[in-house]
Symmetry: C2
DNA sequence: TTGAAAGCGCTAACAT
DNA sequence: ATGTTAGCGCTTTCAA
């Protein structure tokens, strides 16, 4: 069996409490005893049982992170950024993938809470329907939304200003096209808050005449496949506009692939934009103009909000909105 | 405070033991009592405290998964596959990224063990140097290597036959080139076992004259950047061969990008292969010929090995070797 | 079948 | 400064 505090205490010939004190550095203890304890612990290869500690302290130093789709590189990037930030606070991160499934999301969120995590960071699958599970868990422990939010839940949120991101794209397109271009939006159904914000911002731009788009947006999923399919449809209908505004980079990459397959040249025949700035955006041919979400700042902000709640800070929900940035690449590089 | 077993017992007017029995479905209990308990639990919104349960049972139903680099889509795919498999066994997965860092790897592996996970799946950062931490933890609880292994550790391993993968590539290249082609290997330094196996298999093929390569392999990292850089170097030296064998898809994608930038046509001027078959391999221009690793089978096999060890199966280390598959795409599609 | 009670390993009052 | 002890919430003998 693994050695316990008791074993260390016996070997160092001190009480359990002393061992605990030495190993946690809480109270002052006699240096002689302390070194005896440390030696004993080393010799035995003692490791604290974090379950017992968590049970006793009512605090585990674990936080849960729930993403909607680990397969989307934006979210694996976010995971990495969050892990890094929390590692520094000596926290363990318990990661879960909801696989874009509401039931699974509810399950994993509940399970995390049952495991005694100190708090949860969550990018909810659905703005409207993730709320029930989220509200349930938010009643038990601190919950902070990141990147996306769920309606009707009193929780802090750290996200990126999606509307501004779309505005950046629209303005850029107007500039390279020398006036409001004929565009079409290919995005995901506005199930999550980010998708909705992007759609709405685009619709507003169209209403204001900053882009010329009388046709309805093409709404599917945030996947390469959907980007391909949507473009294939447009080509089949001979309905390609001047510019394609894609709801995220995966869609844009699919769109570029489909355009290339059909011999449509980008940016000469049509220009294309994405959203997120995932690593592969630079690799696409042509490289993809897109909106960069500040991953690191997002992770830092969300972590900070959560830490404060865990530390017991009360108050109304806070919403931190970060600024995205336009990254211009070859997919919109039209000759003047 | 969250309701405990005690609260449920009080409300249902039975003993703690009875509540526990009902909720775990272990022993037979009177249906009347059982329903009373269930009602009480529902009304209180009772949730079992998994820390307490774990402490008592000495089993948490959590397994840890340690990957060397979450940013590599091969590993995020592996994570997803493993999560899915373990979810079915009613297990929670505690995920950790070692960020290609031996110290960090050691830390996270130890931390997982401290958190009382029932077992650990690990793709070690280094074949030689991950061993110490791995052996340490393997002495405490079941450890299974997946995809990669560490030397000098008695542990089960589930991996893919890398040598066979390289053989598939080499044979394919010989076929499309009409004889042993002049090739060059661009891969990662043989720090991990997979990288080493790929290098060795390639060296063997060269020694056997199945490819013509007198120059040393270009060894860096499994990243897009390295692929770019290596190819830029070859171009600068005017040393491009007939075919580039890349150690993984990231390198190959970087290579394709660099070739495109310099106006070298693939597959007309040079052919290129990858390894892993990550999602973006189909999106590259041209799409990438590569070796598909059976992610799902890998996850299933590793999970199964671990489950058996957790269940107490003894015996010498088992090594399961899975077969990879060649996926031919445009990057090697030379006209006859 | 049900209940009482011990104890998983640890921390934090409290007492010395 | 150190030790003694109660108890975190649960499961599981053991007795009834």
């Amino acid at each position: 069996m693994a050695p316990t505090l008791r074993d260390v205490a016996l070997r160092a010939d001190v009480s359990l409490a002393t061992v605990s004190r030495v190993l946690n550095g809480s109270t002052r203890v006699d240096p002689t005893l302390a070194s005896r304890v440390r030696t004993a612990a080393d010799e035995l290869g003692y490791r604290a049982n974090l379950l017992a500690r968590g049970l006793r302290r009512q605090r585990t130093d674990i936080v849960g992170l729930v993403v909607p789709q680990i397969g989307n590189p934006f979210f694996s990037g976010l995971m990495q950024a969050v892990s890094r930030h929390l590692q520094q606070s000596a926290r363990t991160v318990l990661l879960a993938d909801a696989e874009d499934d509401l039931d699974l999301e509810r399950q994993v969120v509940t399970r995390l809470a049952d495991h005694g995590v100190d708090g949860i960071l969550c990018a909810p699958v659905s703005e409207q329907e993730s709320g029930v599970a989220a509200a349930e868990v938010a009643a038990r422990l601190p919950l902070v939304f990141l990147d996306r939010a769920a309606a009707d839940v009193e929780a802090d949120t750290a996200s990126v200003d999606q509307r501004r991101g779309i505005a950046l794209v629209v303005d850029h397109l107007a500039e390279v096209c020398g006036g409001p271009p004929a565009t079409r939006l290919i995005s995901a159904a506005p199930v999550d808050s980010a998708a909705r914000a992007r759609c709405e911002a685009y619709a507003d731009a169209a209403a204001e005449g900053r882009v010329a788009d009388g046709a309805p947006p093409l709404l599917g999923e945030f996947t390469v496949e959907w980007g391909r399919e949507a473009v294939a449809g447009l080509i089949a209908d001979d309905a390609l506009p001047q510019a394609l505004v894609c709801g995220n980079d995966l869609i844009a990459l699919g769109a570029l692939a489909a355009l290339a397959e059909h011999g449509v040249r980008v940016p000469d025949d049509i220009v294309v934009t994405g959203f997120d700035d995932v690593g592969f955006a630079t690799l696409a041919v042509p490289s993809l103009t897109t909106v960069r979400q500040p991953l690191d700042a997002l992770a830092a902000t969300a972590s900070e909000l959560l830490e404060q709640r865990i530390a017991g800070v009360e108050g109304p929900p806070r919403c931190e909105l970060l600024r995205p940035e336009l990254v211009v690449r070859a997919s919109t590089a039209v000759a003047p």
